[in-house]
Structure formats: C-alpha cells, structure tokens
C-alpha cells in the first residue's frame, strides 16, 4: 500500500507549568488511514491529539517545543493562522457537544465561520455533510429542530457532520464513542471506515478492541512517552516493548 505522510511530529515536548506532559514524541501519521492512540488515563494521548490542531493554545501555562508539520508546514510557526489550521484539522470531542441551535445551524456553523453565506451553497454543504456522517436519513425531516433533542449517538454523528462541513483534511477524534452505547458505537466505527477514504483520521481510544477493529496504525502512550508506534496488527500481535505487551494483555491500565 502506497503511504503518504500527512502529519509529521518531531521531538515534541509539552509542559503544563512544571509538569512534563509529553516527552520527545516523534511520529509520522499516514494520510487516508486511521491512526489510534491508546494508553491508560493520564498518559498524554489526548494532550498529544490536541497539539495537532493547537487546541492546547486555549489552556493556561502550556509550553510546547518541537515541530508538528502538516503537509510539511510547521503548524507552530508564528505565521500559522489557527483559524485555517482548525479548518484543515477538525475535531470531534469525547462528549457530543452540538450547539444549542437547530441541526441545520449546527452543521452550517463552520462554513459560516469561514465566510460562506449563500443559502443554496449552505443547503448543499449541510446535506452532503449529514450524508457523510451517515445521519442524513434520520434527521432530514427535522433540520430546523434543536440538535439537543437527538440521542447521544445521533448528536455525536451531528458533531462529526459539523466537522466535515468545513471540508477538513484531518479529523481528530478524542474518545468519540466513550459516552455512547454499543449500537451507536458500532455506527460511529463503521463511519470511521468510510471517512478514511477521504480524510486522515486520528482517534484516541480507551478501548483496545476498538483500536484493533478500526485502526491501521496504533501508538501506545505511557506517562507522557510514546512507547511504541506501528501497524496495528504488528503492535497487537508482536509488541516490541515489554510495557506495550503488558498493557495490551491487560496486565495494567
């Protein structure tokens, strides 16, 4: 399989005040594939995910050094426009967080931020995004109703649709199914398979079975360190590091 590097991380260190939260992370993330980050709570996998679209900028006292390159451009370069960066690298959060607006306005939020005003164009984007997130048929008759009236699983797919609406290149998912029931979870997992045809998908997950089921590549994190990174089947079949083996066989975590 021909692989192309979408995001390349070099010597990334992150500090919360005195706390050294990410230690010298190096990684090349493949385009049009699903990369999973696994590891116990507090290992830095979510923090690392957020460095990829600079959501950590919002947190106080964070210091970052090293490079994160998107298609070769360092996103921490002073000339980087975070608005454009976050348009290219979208995000889906752990808790479904639709805005308290209609379904339509939720999906149209991103395109409107980026200056699309034409009603016809927005209609088209909304339908396309909802189809892309496999939820169009469920909500097509209630687009003007509040997104808060949907179930958790539907809300999460609305959030995925909302992320798709700005036509990103990369989609970051921070434990996207941990707040959902098994049926909604499997819908989201199916959806991820679809998404990787068009997007680069990076997912943080607590659930190792999920990593095995959906991902092409897996990175294992432990106390701020990236212990091991490789093809998912290699990581789970022949872990190179004792700590990875202990974790995936359930000896801790």
């Amino acid at each position: 399989m021909e692989t192309k590097t979408k995001i390349s991380v070099e010597n990334l260190n992150l500090y919360y005040g005195e706390n050294h939260a990410l230690k010298d992370v190096n990684m090349d993330i493949c385009a049009n594939a699903i990369t999973a980050f696994i590891g116990p709570s507090g290992c830095g996998k979510s923090t690392f995910l957020k460095t990829l679209n600079r959501m950590n900028d919002l947190v106080e006292n964070v210091r970052i050094d090293g490079r994160v390159c998107l298609d070769g451009d360092d996103i921490y370069d002073s000339g980087m426009d975070t608005t454009l960066l976050r348009k290219r690298v979208g995000m889906v959060f752990q808790q479904p967080n639709p805005f308290p607006m209609s379904i339509y306005d939720n999906i149209a939020y991103g395109p409107r931020v980026h200056g699309i005003k034409s009603k016809a164009k927005l209609d088209e984007i909304v339908e396309e995004s909802l189809r892309g997130a496999a939820i169009f048929d469920e909500v097509k008759d209630r687009l003007k109703k509040s997104a808060l009236g949907l179930s958790g699983g539907q809300q999460q797919r609305i959030c995925i649709a909302r992320a798709l609406a700005v036509q990103p290149e990369v989609i970051l998912m921070d434990e996207p199914t941990s707040a959902l029931d098994p049926i909604s979870t499997s819908k989201i997992e199916e959806l991820m398979e679809q998404l990787k045809k068009q997007y680069t998908v990076i997912v943080v997950t607590h659930n190792m079975q999920q990593a095995v089921r959906v991902s092409d590549y897996t990175a294992f994190f432990l106390v701020g360190e990236m212990v091991e990174f490789g093809k998912t089947k290699d990581i789970f079949s022949y872990p190179q590091d004792k700590r990875t083996e202990d974790y995936i066989t359930g000896r801790f975590g």
Binding site: N53, M55, L58, E60, T82, T83, L84, L85, R86, K87, G90, M91, F93, Q95, N97, P98, F99, P100, M101, S102, Y109, G110, V113, H114, K145, S146, L148, G149, C159, R162, A163, V166
Partner: protein
C-alpha cells in the same frame, strides 16, 4: 417507643414549618391587600394621565410615570452594554488571577452598598462637580453605578453556566474568539442576561434614596415632544419620589397609596415579563 417519639417530633417540625409559611404568606398578602384597599379607589384614568395642577384642580402622576420611564431607559441604555461587556471580559478574556478576583470582589461589594451612599456620591460628583444639578441625567448616572454590579454579576453567572464544550466546539471549527462569544456564548447565556437586566429595572423602579437628591422632584410633563430631550437636564421626580412627597410634605395619603399600588403592579409586571422573556430566549428549549 422510638417510632412514637419520631412521629411526635416529625409532626412538631411539620407544624412549625407550616406556621412559618402561613406567617410569611399572611404578611405578604396583608401588605398587598392593605395597599390595594387603600389605593384602588384613587387610581383612575385622570390620575394616571394628568399632572397635578392647582389651576386645573387635578391630581395626577403622568409626569412621574414619564420620569420613571425616562430614567429607566437612559440608565439601562448605558448600563447594559457596560455591564455585559465587563462580564464578558472578566469571564472570557481576563486571565484568572489577583486582578480579576479584586474586580469581582469590588463588584460584589458595590452590589451590597446602601443606595443612599450612591445618592450622596451622585449628588456631589455628577450634580456638583460636573454641574449637572438635580436632573434626570444625574439620577440616571447615579443609578448606572448602582445597577452595573447587578448586571455584571448576573451576566457572569450566566456565562459560567455555558459548558466549555461549546467554547471548544466553536474554536475547534476555526471560529475566532469574538465570533464564538457572539454566536454561541451570548445566545446560550441570554436568559441569565435578561434576568439581570430586568432585575436591574426592578431596582430602578423601586429606588428612592439614590434619586432623592440626584434627580429632584419635578412632576411636570414636557410640553411638546421636542422638549423631551432637554428634559434630561432638568429635575424629574420618579414615582417613588412622588410617593415620598405625597406621604410627607403634601400629606396626601390617598395619592401615596395610589402610587404604591401603581408601583406594585409595575413590579409584578416586570417579574412576569422576566419569566416570560427568559423562557423565550432559552435556546436549550427550542424544539
């Protein structure tokens, strides 16, 4: 034995609680009934729409109603944007730390200061130092100081209840901070902001001490519509001030109770309006 004792203790407590409730309801109902009975016979069309005039032999509060509305409008037009803006700054932009807690502490303290102190300051500063004298403007400027903490606090509380996930969601889509505040935060916080604004209006309607020596006591109506603006620099007594004057220097208790009744009705309407508006603007309730 034990259960017997418990039963007695329980009914005793229940009895006491019911007594408390009955007492407070009775007191409240008593006051309202008293004001209603004393005032209702003097509230009529002429009383509401004319100005007290010895020449024409009329007793009326139209001038005071207009003054009250005027003071409300000017005060709120200035206080609302400043108060909401302050709250947005404190909650969304300022780095949490000593200065922010100092401002918050100051706001809280200001909200609890007796209004007559605002009146004294307003009279000396706006009235004397700035030379505005007894005028609607002096009164309004004084009241702005008084209601600002109220609006700021309420807006801040409302902003604090908006989940961070909304902020992250909008920022994660590439929205700028102000865009996020305008399109997601403020609509979500709107019920709380409206509550603050209307509570402030309630404070203004009921205020007397701070207006007594700032806005003056004139009860005339502007003669023409074009006189309305210059009126801002002239003395204008609110309903509460007129109530005070009627009951003291004028010794006209009929009018005093009639005004009291009008004020009660206004406060009731404001409270109902608050509930209705806050519900209407509650975005989480859109179906």
């Amino acid at each position: 034995m034990i259960s017997q004792k418990r039963k007695i203790a329980d009914s005793l407590v229940y009895g006491l609680i019911y007594l408390c409730v009955a007492l407070s309801v009775a007191l409240l109902a008593g006051i309202i009934l008293y004001v209603f009975v004393k005032g209702v016979s003097h509230v009529n069309w002429e009383f509401m729409t004319t100005v007290t005039s010895v020449l024409r032999g009329t007793v009326g509060i139209a001038g005071n109603i207009v003054n009250t509305l005027y003071i409300i409008v000017i005060t709120m037009l200035i206080a609302t944007p400043i108060g909401v803006g302050t709250a947005i700054y404190l909650n969304e932009y300022a780095k949490p730390g000593k200065i922010v807690s100092l401002i918050e502490f100051a706001t809280e303290t200001l909200a609890g200061i007796p209004s007559i102190i605002f009146g004294l300051f307003g009279m000396m500063f706006f009235g004397q130092t700035l030379g505005l004298g007894y005028s609607i403007l002096t009164g309004s400027l004084t009241l702005i100081l008084m209601v600002l903490p109220l609006i700021t606090r309420n807006t801040q509380e409302a902003l604090k209840t908006v989940p961070d996930s909304y902020r992250n969601g909008a920022i994660g889509l590439g929205a700028g901070k102000w865009h996020m505040i305008r399109t997601v935060l403020l609509p979500s916080a709107m019920p709380g902001i409206i509550t603050g604004v209307i509570l402030a209006i309630g404070r203004i309607v009921g205020e007397s001490a701070a207006l007594l020596f700032t806005a003056g006591s004139a009860k005339t109506l502007p003669k023409t519509l074009s006189m309305l603006f210059p009126k801002i620099f002239q003395s204008g007594g609110s309903l509460t001030i007129q109530l005070y004057l009627s009951a003291t220097s004028e010794g006209d208790f009929d009018s005093a109770f009639a005004i009291a009744l009008v004020l009660l009705v206004i406060v009731l309407l404001i409270n109902m309006g608050t509930k209705w508006l806050a519900k209407r603007f509650d975005v989480s309730r859109i179906q």
